[in-house]
Symmetry: D2
Subunit: 139 residues, 4 copies
């Protein structure tokens, strides 16, 4: 799969007293990218939750290379690195627009579950999305 | 009603690059105080949500007197200023433990609703809590 | 002054278990609008901090009309309602893009200070910005 | 080094619409534990920043085992797993107080730097703290 990109700008509320973006906030940016990537495939994560499937996070990591600062324009790149109908993993890169500096790399791992927190096969509930995800992964 | 007090310590993640606690975070502190005050009455807000009633915020205000800083120990005081079975209002004060400086004052207004976002009379759903709230307000 | 508008989309991290955007987060959205409005005037808040002037919040309020939800596209409108060289106030409206519903209204009050938290006259430190702000307010 | 423990309670503002604590917030909890662990050693991170040394995060990871929910009382355990005067690493466990369930495990890696973001040897700037950290690690 190719990188899917979104742009965000670092908010004042996201900085800390070290005058850099607080490290925990990078995970919300990863999620913004994930949301738009799923929309790019032709569905929306919101709709999938309406179908009764959730995609909670089971593992995350992030490597901070260069500090992101207030008002920095960042490109957040995401790609799906694994999808087997039950599990779904993503990789990320954050690039500073101004000079293309690599700000951070990261990864998140997820499992499809239902509203009772039981694992589900996405293909059984929303087969159209399942098919699209498989097609995308082959690109 | 008398003030109900909780203690919190300003977290690093709550600071911004002005090296003070970000103003939006004060509302989470107000909520921590509200949660503990309701528990102090003999129920818990968590339980009330399990009874199917929610207490969303419809109006907030906050006056910032002195900046709260990282690692400051703060006393967050809350009292219920209005309760009529449908609406519920609270007032707040935040005091810096070290020197009793008044950090901020605030107020929030709420409405009891059900899970379909319709207004509800709390007394019809959880009469025991309704009675306790009325008793507390007379103190 | 006329309304200045920015668009934001509600992030998953901004929701709470009531399945609506957490009320404290509206203040970060107000700030995103403020940041872009100041840039629209021809400077940036980032630059102003580099000039040694800060614009902390001293009073906020917000009225929540309709709940904002995950993935909602929102227009955040801001205008400066007062500027006298020392103090600066803003008003806000949040509109849901899809149906133009009024989600919330709000206001924030600020004071220009230096890095030692002393009040400053903006006109003495960055006269060009001071002049532009006065011109904008007359529009 | 032995585990150092702090207790926290999941705040409403920390939940998301999946009705669990948002995964990015675990990193603020790790930081609360880190702050108190450093205080337990006899200094405070706040003081260290006043000495001109900062401890930014360069790598984080977290494994989510069981969802933390609103109002859950959690024990956040931290221990230093590496300290060589320049770098400092920590491991974490989050336990649910009620039933001792393991909620999450995690790790963060840090580097000591000065206010100009240059790497520093902690022993050169605050030798007393450097010595204490080495002693603690031998326990």
């Amino acid at each position: 799969m190719e990188w899917f990109e979104v742009k965000i700008k670092v908010r004042y509320s996201e900085t800390d007293q070290m005058a850099i973006a607080y490290h925990g906030n990078y995970f919300s940016w990863f999620e913004v990218a994930r949301t738009e990537m799923i929309r790019g495939i032709g569905t929306s994560y919101k709709e999938m939750e309406e179908h009764g499937v959730l995609l909670p996070v089971i593992d995350v990591s992030c490597q901070y290379k260069v500090s992101a600062k207030y008002d920095d324009e960042l490109v957040v790149r995401v790609k799906c690195t694994k999808y087997n109908g039950i599990r779904m993993d993503f990789a990320y890169e954050i690039i500073r627009e101004a000079d293309q500096a690599l700000i951070a790399t990261g990864a998140t791992k997820h499992a499809w579950i239902d509203k009772k927190y039981r694992p589900v096969r996405l293909g059984k509930i929303v087969p159209a999305i399942h098919k699209k995800l498989l097609q995308e992964l082959e690109k």
